[in-house]
Symmetry: none
Subunit: 207 residues, 4 copies
């Protein structure tokens, strides 16, 4: 035994690993079975753990779901932020980010359902997701690209545009026109004139 590390830290490492495994597993299962149909049995089995182990780490299914949603939101936020890092215009960042979320959700269908489920069920998740937009919206505001004040309602509305877009494309298949219209809608929502929105959406999403 390595005496430089305490028993405790070792054990905590294991604890953390198991915990993480459960969260990962939950994300997988929720993606496959939907948000409410993800049973604890299935989640633990997918993690290769015993049923009861779940309760060593979480109080109930709700707790796990919340944590899983946060993890998903955070990972997505980071990824997308990286991908739009080199864009300089706030509005561009907003519509490209949104479009990337939508594309991802439609292509990885299961994942899209998780996104929609979490959006519907979990207040926290809505907050987290909305926040992803906040920085870029404030940037756009500073750049004078929108006359609106940035608040939670506006953020939620923009994400709602994305959700509608995903819902429609999950039903009818991936569709670039729909995504461009979605971008236009977001721009109009932010106060851009329709013809300018049309032009900008087409141009930015065609890159």
């Amino acid at each position: 035994m390595d005496r430089y590390f305490s028993n405790k830290s070792l054990t905590q490492g294991k604890r953390e690993r198991t915990r993480a495994a459960l969260i990962d597993s939950a994300i997988q299962v929720i993606a496959q079975k939907g948000f409410e149909s993800a049973s604890i049995k299935e989640i633990t089995q997918a993690a290769g753990l015993a049923n009861g182990t779940f309760y060593n780490h979480f109080d109930d299914r709700e707790s796990l779901a919340r944590e899983a949603a946060v993890v998903v939101a955070m990972e997505m936020a980071e990824e997308i932020a990286g991908e739009v890092a080199d864009l300089e215009d706030g509005l561009d960042k907003v519509i490209v980010s949104t479009d990337k979320i939508v594309k991802r959700a439609v292509i990885a269908e299961a994942w899209g359902h998780v996104l929609i489920g979490a959006w519907h069920y979990l207040d926290d998740f809505r907050q987290d997701i909305a926040q992803i937009m906040r920085r870029d919206l404030k940037l756009a505001k500073r750049q004078g690209s929108t006359p609106l004040s940035i608040n939670q309602l506006l953020e939620l509305q923009i994400i709602a545009m994305a959700i509608v877009s995903v819902t429609l494309q999950l039903k009818n298949g991936l569709n670039k026109a729909t995504r461009i219209e979605t971008a236009e809608a977001i721009l109009r929502l932010l106060g851009v004139a329709p013809e300018d929105a049309k032009q900008k959406a087409k141009q930015v999403l065609s890159l």
Copy 2:
């Protein structure tokens, strides 16, 4: 039993009545208990019927839910349409209709959850609800109030604005400012310039 009338017509009348009773009952129970917690036992009991009777009329809960949703959507559509009948401007009709739906959903909390649940779960319901807007949107288009072409995506986006508004107000309480901002957002979505939208929203919803 009266033998002068055919068994068939009597039975069919009864059949229809029982069917309708189940749908009504489902609406009540779903409104009280939420979408997924409405059990068949409860629905049939509320209708004063035996639980087995359900299976003489519907294949499963989903079928009933769909029919119930259609009924709700239709009733709501009629009601709202009646209430905005004397408005002449298409845009006015759209934002007043939306606002009425939102107010109703927030005040009758349970009902609001049903609305959101149905919106989330039931594709048909989304279609039906979206259609409520269609006529008014087309009117606005004819009146030259919007440069956009009216399609399903746009309809869904407008309802999504309403849903976001309801969600937020169910959490934070009824809030007129939120509802006015929602109307503004819808107007901007339809291509109205932000300052015009602001003015119009305030003016129309203050009546």
Copy 3:
């Protein structure tokens, strides 16, 4: 179908039969496994019914246990009352009844454990059992055999004598001396002088 009986009464007959079967079964299982270890699964299995059937008839295990205890108490009361019907002296009735309960409980060991379990757990059962004694005690009072006023505490004390007797004999085996001493104790409790109690107990229980 027999048209002289309504559907309802037929069905209710079945319902009653199943209900009774569950109560019987519960008594058996409780006798074997003890009061708290009688699981619903076991009770329904012993009745040849499905797990879920239980919940068509009782709200929870507690409800069933209470009903079962009442049934046991009532049956016992009737039986014993019949057996001591030809005794004329109130005190005789009391000590013979008690002795019969004790003997029965010790011989049918499982049954003895039920008695003790129910006595310990169920307030209602204590009341029911205590009441069994009441009439005979009042008779003894009228006959001038006891100077005490008859109240619930006294009834419970007498049954407690029986319970102690059962407990000891379940451990050490059936023992007539113990039962006679128990009868003496009950008589002393009722105010009979020790030497008279000794004589009466021996004489009455030797019949």
Copy 4:
């Protein structure tokens, strides 16, 4: 670590301390949660130990419960014996001891339930508790206050009087009349004439 003392003695000291901690903890938890609801996890947690530690000291919950009951009985015996030390009459000691046990059990409600639970579940506990009375009963016998021979049955019967009294008062609230009647009953059980019992009970318990 102090190397001047042998590991063994230290460890054994530790072993005993841990063991004692578990017993103490068990008493606390049982008093709060009741006899069957005291889980091992809760007991170990209350002792500030890991749940696995339990199995280094006891085979199962039953073992611990038994030991805990003995400790409780002994402590109570000592305490009560101290409190009645200055009484000279054996009968007085018996009814005052009993009354003190009853009062304590009714006031500290949780504790009362433990007493009853242990009395019901644990044969050893019944023996230990019965023994508390033995010395005083023998004294009463030597003083010629009772014609009865002192045996286990009699001891158990007296404690049963106390248990009935506790049960009733836990249900209906602390009640001096009930406690006096209990004392009378014990005296009658020991062969005291009803009117003498009445007078003595009242007089002794009023001090």
